[in-house]
Symmetry: C2
Subunit: 367 residues, 2 copies
C-alpha cells in the first residue's frame, strides 16, 4: 500500500469513507487540517462525542493495516450499532486524522497535533512535500480543506480510543490476542546536515579528504550504538548524499535520526549523546555540520479509566491470560488526543512484528 | 561547471569546437561513439596523426579545467601553427573523447575504451542514464552519432598526448610547474546492493532488525579502512537507500565502491578484502547482498619515448628542478590509447589539489 497523505489515492479513500459513514446516518465535519469527523448522534448530544480514530494515509511502501484497521474498526462499530438499532449514551465520532505518517509532509501525527494545540495551523500549512507542494494547497486541491477550526476547543471529544496493530513482536511472541496500551514512548527527530569537500577520488590521498558520506556513515553507526547503550531505539530512515558520482568524494550528506525511549529523561540524554557523537565525528573528518531538532513528542501515559475500560473488554473477550499491558513504541494520533481528553489504545498482534512494509499482516481472528 | 555527456550543453560545446577547428583549417571526423577528431594535415599524410586529446564533459558539480584544458590546449596549438604557418611532419588530431567522466553513463573513459577495443560498441550503446535514456539515442538526438568506425584499426593514431590538471596535491606541495606522467593507477568499481527488512522504527527492538542502511554505513566505513591498510585509495561516491521515510527502517541500500592502486596486484587484493568485509557485515545484520564488478581498468605504464619527449620539453620550459615525474591517480582516456599507441601525459598543478568541484583552479602561468 502506498497512499501518501493528500494524493489522489488519499482523495479517493476519503470520498469512500464519507460515503460509507453517511450510509450509517452520520453527519460529517471536516476541519482546517482535513481531519474528518463522522458523528453519530447519541441520547445526550450536549456531551462531546467519544472518538474512535486513526488514519488512512500510509508509508511509501506500507502495509494494509497500520492506521487503516482503526478507521475500519470505527466503520464496523457504526454498522453494528445501525443494524441492531442501538442508541449510545454520548454521540460517537469516527475520525480519520490527516498525515499521521509524516511520510509526505515530514512531521508525523501532524493534524491531531494541530487539533490538540501541540502545533499551530500555520506551522502545519508551511509544510511542503519533496516536490515543493504545500500541505494547504494539496488539501484544497483534493477538496478536503474544511472550515471547522482544527482545535479541541471548537470540536471537542469526551474521550479517544484507537484500535491499531502492534507493529512489534511482543504480543505474537507471548501468544496474546490483545494489547492494552498504557502509554506511548517519546520520540525526537534530528535533521543532520554534513558538509565536507568534493574532490577527485583517484587523486586525493586518503589522508587529505573531507568525505561527507564517510563521516555520515560513521555517524549512522554510532547513532545505532547509542540505542544499545540506553536500551532504546534509534533509526536513520532518510539519508541522502551529493553529488552522486562514482568518481567524486561526496561533499554533502543529510539524514534524519529518530530517537525513541519510554523515559523522556533517557530520550533527552540520548539526544545529547547523538549530538555530541556527530560533532566529534564531523571534527575528525574536517566536516561542518548543522543539527536541527525537527520534532519532539514526549512520552505520555494514557488515562487510567480508559486503560481500565480496554482491560475489562480484553478480559471479557480474550480471557485474563489472553492479553498483556504494554506501551506503544510508535507515535499515534492518540498521543496528541491524550493531552486534551482521556485516551487509550487497543493493540492486536502483528505477524513477525513487521509493519511499514507490504508484508504487514494481522489475522482476521484478531481484527 | 555541470556539462554532463550528450546533454544540450554538451551539444553546444561540441558545435563550438567543430566551428573553431574549421577556422584553423582542420577536417572533422566523428566516430560511432561521438568522439570528434579534428585533423590538421602534415607533410606526410600517410602517417597516422599524432593525437592531442581530452574531454569536454564534466562531473555533475565539476570545475572548468578537468578535461577541458586538454582540448583547449589542442586548439591553442592549432592556432599557433596556423598563425606561424608551421607544417608538421605528421598530421595532428585534436580529439574530444565522449563521456570520459562516466558521470551520466556510468563507465568512465567509455568512448576511448571502444576505440581501443577495451569495450565493445554494443556494451557502450547499452548504457542508460538515470532517466532511462540510452547513450546511442542521446548521441543521435544531439547530432553526434558519426559513421566512422570507433576503432584504432579504422581510425589510427601514431601517438597520444594529453595535457591535464593534476587533480592532486603533489605538484603544488613541491612547487613544481610540470608533472611528467609515467603511468596511471588501476581502478576497480564494485556495485553493491544490500537488502534488509523494512520495519516500523519505533516498535522494532534494536536487536531484531535487519537495517540495510546501517549495514551499508558500516561497509562504507570498513571500505575506507582498507584504503589505509593498503596505501591505496577507496571511495564511495554513489549511495542511495530506500524507502526514504523517517519512520521506517531502510530495506535497501545501493552504492558504488571505487578502489585504486598503482599496483594491479594490490588493487585486486583490496578488491577481495572489500568483498569479504561486505559479506561479513551483511551476515552480521541478516542482510542479503549482491556485488557486481562493473569496471576494472588495469594500472598502465606509459611509453618511454613519449615520457622522454614530455621530460625534455619540461626541462626546456621549467628547468630541471621545475618538474617531477609522477603517476596519475585518476583514469584518463590516455589509459585506453596507451594500449594502441605510444602515449604520455603532461600535468600542471591544481590549487589545493582540488578537482571535481567548482573551486577547481590552475593559474594561467601554468596553462
Amino acid at each position: 500500500m502506498r497512499r501518501l497523505a493528500l494524493t489522489d489515492l488519499d482523495k479517493s479513500v476519503r470520498e469512500w469513507f464519507v460515503a460509507e459513514v453517511k450510509r450509517y446516518g452520520c453527519s460529517v465535519k471536516i476541519d482546517q487540517m482535513g481531519n474528518i469527523f463522522a458523528i453519530r448522534r447519541g441520547r445526550n448530544n450536549d456531551v462531546p462525542p467519544i472518538g474512535i480514530g486513526s488514519h488512512l494515509d500510509t508509508q511509501p511502501a506500507g502495509g494494509r493495516y497500520d492506521g487503516i484497521l482503526g478507521v475500519q474498526a470505527g466503520l464496523e462499530i457504526l454498522k453494528i450499532l445501525e443494524e441492531t438499532g442501538t442508541e449510545t449514551h454520548a454521540p460517537l465520532a469516527v475520525i480519520n486524522w490527516t498525515n499521521e505518517e509524516g511520510a509526505r509532509f515530514t512531521t508525523g501525527m501532524l493534524s491531531s497535533a494541530v487539533w490538540a494545540g501541540n502545533a499551530t495551523l500555520q506551522e502545519a500549512y508551511d509544510h511542503v512535500d519533496s516536490e515543493g507542494l504545500t500541505l494547504k494547497s494539496e488539501l484544497e486541491r483534493i477538496g478536503f480543506l474544511g472550515d471547522v477550526e482544527a482545535s479541541f476547543e471548537k470540536n471537542p471529544l469526551s474521550a479517544h480510543f484507537e484500535y491499531h496493530i502492534e507493529q512489534g513482536p511482543f504480543l505474537e511472541d507471548e501468544e496474546k490476542s490483545v494489547g492494552v496500551v498504557t502509554g506511548v514512548q517519546g520520540m525526537t527527530w534530528l535533521m543532520v546536515n554534513v558538509v565536507g569537500r568534493s574532490q577527485h577520488c583517484g587523486t586525493t590521498p586518503i589522508d587529505r579528504r573531507s568525505d561527507a558520506l564517510l563521516a555520515a556513515s560513521q555517524m549512522v553507526s554510532r547513532v545505532n550504538e547509542i540505542a544499545w547503550e540506553n536500551k532504546g531505539v534509534t533509526t536513520v530512515g532518510v539519508f541522502r548524499s551529493s553529488p552522486q558520482s562514482p568518481g567524486t568524494i561526496p561533499e554533502e550528506a543529510t539524514f534524519i535520526v529518530d530517537i525513541e525511549h519510554l523515559s523522556n529523561d533517557t530520550m533527552d540524554q540520548m539526544t545529547v549523546s547523538v549530538r555530541e557523537s556527530i560533532e566529534a565525528i564531523a571534527k575528525k573528518h574536517g566536516c561542518t555540520i548543522k543539527i536541527e531538532q525537527t520534532w519532539r513528542s514526549a512520552a505520555v501515559a494514557f488515562d487510567e479509566d480508559c486503560i481500565g475500560a480496554v482491560r475489562d473488554a480484553a478480559i471479557l473477550h480474550a480471557g485474563k491470560d489472553g492479553f498483556r499491558e504494554l506501551p506503544a513504541g510508535a507515535g499515534h494520533d492518540s498521543v496528541n488526543t491524550s493531552y486534551k481528553c482521556p485516551t487509550s489504545m487497543v493493540f492486536i498482534p502483528s505477524k513477525n512484528g513487521i509493519s511499514h512494509h507490504p508484508s504487514e499482516y494481522s489475522t482476521p481472528e484478531h481484527w
